[in-house]
Structure formats: C-alpha cells, structure tokens
Symmetry: C4
Subunit: 121 residues, 4 copies
Amino acid sequence: MPIGKKSWIIPDAYIPPKSSGSLESHEAICVLNRNQETVHLDIHLYFEDREPIKNIKYEIHGNRTKHLKTDSLHIDGESVPKGVPYAIEVTSDLPIVVQYSRLDTTQSENALMTTLAYATD
Amino acid sequence: MPIGKKSWIIPDAYIPPKSSGSLESHEAICVLNRNQETVHLDIHLYFEDREPIKNIKYEIHGNRTKHLKTDSLHIDGESVPKGVPYAIEVTSDLPIVVQYSRLDTTQSENALMTTLAYATD
Amino acid sequence: MPIGKKSWIIPDAYIPPKSSGSLESHEAICVLNRNQETVHLDIHLYFEDREPIKNIKYEIHGNRTKHLKTDSLHIDGESVPKGVPYAIEVTSDLPIVVQYSRLDTTQSENALMTTLAYATD
Amino acid sequence: MPIGKKSWIIPDAYIPPKSSGSLESHEAICVLNRNQETVHLDIHLYFEDREPIKNIKYEIHGNRTKHLKTDSLHIDGESVPKGVPYAIEVTSDLPIVVQYSRLDTTQSENALMTTLAYATD
C-alpha cells in the first residue's frame, strides 16, 4: 500500500541571509519515497510580490530519502533568493511524505524548526 | 482543485516582549493562497482573560504567499499586546494553507519554532 | 459549528530540570476553547516505568485560550516530575484545539519547540 | 477505543555528529502506547544512497510512553550512523502515537525541534 500523498504545501519558507558559527543557515525539503519506483517531483515556489517559479524537477529513487537543500533548487537560471519570504509546493507522480526543516545560524548558536508539510491528494 | 481549508487555528501565539542580538522577536502567520483569485482573511484573536479581538481583515493576491507579522495586526486602535498569551483563528473565503512560526530573541541567540495550524472547513 | 476534537495526545513531554538566563525552562499545553460554554478538561499523564497519573481537572471559559504550564498540574499531592520523559493525554467534554510548546533554558540561550497535538474523537 | 495509527513516517532524521555544552546531541522517537497490551514496534531506516536497515524490533508496555533515542537502535551489528540524513518508518501491531524530536548541541547553546510523525493505517 502506498504511503503518503502527491501534493504538499510549506507556507513558511525562508533562507536566512546570514550565517555564523560552524554551520551554514539552510532549509531542507525532506522527502521519503517508500515506493519501489523512482518518484518524479515537480516543485513550485510562491512569493509575496512576484510571479511563482514553477516546475523545478527532481527525482528520488525507490526506498530512499532525500533531504533536499533549497539553495540547490534552480531552473532557467533562477534559484531561491536568500532573505526573501516564500512558500513551497511539492507535487509528485507517486505518494511521498514531506517534512520541512530550517537551521538558522544568524547568531553563532543554532536555531532549528521543523514541521510536516500540509498534505493533499 | 483548490488546496487547503477555510478555517485555521493556532492555540499558542505570543509575542516575546524582549529582543536582543541583531533580530527582533516576532511571530508570523504564513499563508499560501494557491487560488487564482484574491483571498479575503478574517482574523480573530482569543485571550485568557478578556473578550476576543475579532474581524481583523487582510487580503492576499492569487498565487502569492504572505508571511504576516502579528505585530502588524490592528483594528479600531487595538493591536496584539506583547508578552500576553493568546490564540489565533484565521478564516477565509477561499481555501488556504496556514503555518505559524515564532522567532524569540529574548536572549541574544535565536530560538525558532513552527507548526502547521489546525485546519477545519 | 464546533472547532476541534475531544481527545489530544502529546507523546513527547518533558520539563527540563535546569534553567539559566532570564527565563525558566517550561512546557505549556496551549488550548483554544472556541465554544460559547466552559469546557472541562481531563488530563492524564503516562510514564516510561510507572502507572499513569489520571484525571487532573481543568476548566476553560468559552471563547478563551489557556496556555497551561505543566508544572502547575497536580492531583492528590502528585505533580509532574522534572527531568522525566512522559506523555500527555487531554480529553474534554467539548471540542478544543491543543498545541504543545517547550522552552528549554538549560543553556543560557533559549531553545523552543512546538507542535500541534495528535487529535482523535 | 484505540488511539493512534499503526504506521508512522519521519522524513527528516539526523543525529548531529558534534556535541558541546552540558547536553549531548540526540534524537528521540517518542511513542505513546494507550492500549492495555504491550505493543510491538518494527522500525525501518531509509537512506539517501544505500539500502534500508529494516525490522529493528522494540516493545512498549500498555499505558506507557517511551522516548526512544535513535542512537540506541541497532540490528545485526548495524546502528544509526551520525551525521547522515535518513528517514524513519515505525510500524506497530496496535495503534500508537509518534512524535519526533531532535536536540542539537553542535554549538554550546541548545537548539530543539519537534513534530508529530506522519500517520497512516
């Protein structure tokens, strides 16, 4: 029986513009693909005051996880800007489970936050 | 197909009264409007020992996100008091997705927390 | 239409035994009662290696929130021990919404975490 | 009435490789068994670039919680590697509720994050 859903929403995405200490500020879209087959992701980014960036593609093999850093996402020369509030939509051709986490090292001590994404079908 | 729900609850809201370091303590109600049309929000605030503040209005354009800082909410000269526990209800005329995040800089190093809000229809 | 559920589970509860800096380590069970009527809570605590503490009572007026600190819970001379892993079950006679948050000040800089509780009927 | 589900997914698992300050970095799978009977867990670990580690067994007595540290999980001489992104699946023969938490003490001040796991039947 497949585990998960095919559409996931993360309203609060943000790459902190500053880092200090030993780790770099970053976010990750953490995905589990519990299917036998490779899953194909379609990632869309929504902003406060400009058009969305759509259809960033990513593949994850069967029975694998991927903790996908958002600063690696790019399409047609566009990537995720730092210090800008945005939201993420992940759609897929097979059910997956998606969790979002952020590490903020603006100050030298770390701050962490995480939540499951919002799932629909 | 519309994504999300029209009623969202955040039981644990609180603006830390103190800030230090380079960032200010704040909370945000993070909304994704995945509809084509503008969505109209109606925000209600509940307290421990006084009547609610109701019907704060806000609009978000279609295919846009908004990370709405709670210290910007106000109606009839009332705004969100700092250092007071409260709860938030967000209702809308179209389905949306809502996540709540808080940055606490009471101490000079940051602390972060986040969760999806509780959704009903 | 009533908002919420009548049974809520928080598997990861823990009062950090140490505090430092300007704030004290604590947890809160944050409840919104969106009904007109007063809601009556029945709170049960589960441990790793002893019998549960059951039927701690609490009331919240209609259209009010309460951010209930767990170190204030007590019954028959028993209260929540510090530094001990436990879990919380909140049941109620009317639907409510429950979020759990912890502030850990073991070190002088704050750490925060939060999540909605798990809801059933 | 049983409380919870029999299959739980945590996409973002990770044991920070470094610790400092007075506490050690760790993660916990926090489970509440609200049944009268002992529950039998079957835990599977998924990675980014190798085969899963499957069928790690664990038991929790009735009406008990367990905050299970992931560095204690092992089978056939394999355990959870530090500093490696992975995902967790917890299945059980009775309904349970699962929450995931991480304490990161890479820097001397603590960072915390938590979320309910994703539940299916």
